[in-house]
Amino acid sequence: MLLTNLAILVLAGFVGYAVISKVPNTLHTPLMSGTNAIHGIVLIGGLLVLGLEGHGFLNKVLLVIAIVFGTINVVGGFLVTDRMLEMFKQRSPDVVKRDEDDAK
């Protein structure tokens, strides 16, 4: 189990490296925000532990807080990234150019 998981861990590291290594400066902020949303995946850790092993008052309180935190991370992260990117999408020169070409 440990070795399988370590293999996945190492491969995921290389994938992360390969996917990200060629990003234009312009997109660094949205990219940081987007990856930020993805580590909100820790939410499902909170869900699993609360759903399957959530006993005791203090544990429950801690886990609900963890879920609140995880949800804020996920929902807020994706929404804020979307807002940032919307501004790029409409004004992307490629899109404008394509629209102009279509108009001809």
Partner: protein, 471 residues
């Protein structure tokens, strides 16, 4: 129980969903690397996240539904309005905050894991180690991000707060304390005070790492903490034997590390140097009114600026955090339109760390409709400054500071800058004579080619626009 329910609750079905989920993360992230595919990429990743969450809830034997719904509802009720209403200029602190809560969730999970297993009593050692690692890193990330938020939101002072000489010693001691408590737990001690102490030591370390860091380094720090949270999520994934967490966390850990390195390189700063103590004790007195060392400052009026700009051939605009704070990007766009009507060539010089995050200026200018091809990166625009008739610096300070080139004693010595002092004349829009976020005096302002236009960036630019129109 219907056959369909049985099928959906199979562990293998849930694992398959996780595979779909992390494939969508990777595919979505690769979309985020290009402007045309970015919006779709982000949404694809969000769909992956929804799949992972729903699949998790399918697990057989899930209970505490009321509390789960409560947590999700509160999180949504906080996260959605925060993300909807945040101004583009406040984006960096928002990212810091979202990053922090993720780290906080990781740290809380480590604590609960400890409590659930009676202090990791019958847990494989590797699970214990990864869980404790996640706890330490998550706690550092949570507190560090909160401090970064406080500094950017100006709840805390932006300039470095240090313990002086003892800083590195204290940081090292806290780190060793956290690790030592973790080792004690892994070695078989089950007292809860140990893990609480470990998380608190890590919390103090997170505070002390970020407090001494000045504004100029803040983008690097946020990116670094983002990578930390990713790594801690991956460690949690190994502790919980959950592939979705491992893959998603590690991708963020890896990409965040690269992004951090790219940013640190852009500033000619090493990551260890930033973490070990910010700008150290070499910062000059903050908020100096008037010139230091006998230089004089020349101020100018919107009408003079308008004339200079209108009769220039090439104008380079250098935006900085001041433009963001004043929300001046639309007025700036208006000004470029007016100048272009008069045949003036306008370019933007964007320093990689202008503002508070890499790409911060690009986001704001894109919001205001400035075409991509006018935005020039540092290496591209620096050779053009000697040709520029006028450089208009709007609320940028440290990224134009010539001290970075010629004053070895300056704390920012060695940082690549936009060489605006090469231009024929320089106009700096500034609110007051206060020094920049990093608290360093800027000799550019006392340069004889420089004229300062004091006032809020937005109203100054608007005044210049109407003066140009009146010409």
């Amino acid at each position: 129980m219907t056959p369909a329910t049985v099928f959906l609750q199979q562990p293998d079905f849930i694992r398959a969903c996780y595979i779909v989920a992390f494939s969508l993360f990777i595919y979505g992230l690769s979309g985020l690397t290009g402007p045309r595919t970015a919006v779709r990429g982000n949404r694809i990743a969000a769909v992956g996240m929804a799949i992972a969450v729903v699949a998790t809830l399918l697990n057989k034997g899930m209970g505490n539904w009321g509390l789960i719904v409560l947590g999700l509802a509160i999180g949504t009720a906080i996260g959605v309005p925060a993300a909807r209403n945040v101004k583009m200029t406040q984006m960096p602190q928002m990212v810091a905050l979202f990053n922090g809560v993720g780290g906080g969730a990781v740290a809380l999970l480590a604590w609960v894991d400890f409590r659930n297993s009676g202090g990791f009593a019958h847990t494989p050692t590797y699970v214990t180690i990864f869980s404790l690692f996640a706890g330490i890193v998550g706690s550092v990330s949570f507190w560090g991000s909160n401090i970064a938020f406080g500094k950017l939101q100006e709840i805390l002072p932006g300039r470095p707060i240090t313990l002086g000489r003892g800083q590195q010693f204290v940081n090292g001691a806290l780190f060793l304390l956290a690790v030592a408590l973790g080792v004690a737990i892994a070695a078989g001690s089950h007292a809860q005070i140990l893990i609480i102490g470990m998380l608190l030591a890590a919390a103090a370390l997170g505070n002390l790492i970020v407090l001494p860091i000045g504004g100029a380094d803040m983008p690097v720090v946020i990116s670094l903490l983002n990578a930390f949270t990713g790594l801690s999520a991956a460690a949690t994934g190994i502790a919980l034997n959950n592939t979705a967490l491992i893959v998603a966390g590690m991708i963020v850990g890896a990409s965040g590390t690269i992004l951090t390195r790219l940013m640190a390189e852009a500033m000619n700063r090493s990551i260890p140097a930033i973490v070990a103590g910010g700008f150290g004790g070499t910062v000059t007195a903050p908020g100096v009114e008037g010139p230091e060392g006998g230089g004089t400052v020349r101020s100018t009026s919107p009408d003079d600026v308008a004339i200079q700009l209108s009769y220039a051939r090439l104008v380079v605009i250098v935006p900085g955090y001041g433009m963001a704070v004043a929300q001046a990007q639309h007025a700036v766009r208006e000004l470029t339109r007016e100048l272009e009507k008069r045949g003036v060539e306008v370019k933007f010089g964007i320093h990689p760390v202008a503002g508070r995050m890499p790409g911060h200026m690009n986001v704001l200018l894109a919001e205001a409709d400035v075409p991509y091809d006018q935005l020039k990166e540092m290496d591209e625009i620096n050779p053009e400054f000697p040709r520029a008739d006028v450089v208009l610096v709007i609320g940028a300070n440290d990224v134009t500071n010539p001290a970075a080139k010629d004053q070895p004693s300056s704390p920012i010595y060695g940082m690549p800058i936009l060489e605006v002092d090469q231009a024929h004349s320089i106009i700096v829009l500034k609110r007051s004579m206060n020094s920049g976020f990093a608290g360093i005096d800027n000799p550019l302002f006392y340069n004889e080619k420089t004229a300062l236009l004091f006032g809020d960036a937005k109203s100054s630019v608007s005044d210049v626009v109407s003066a140009v129109q009146d010409l």
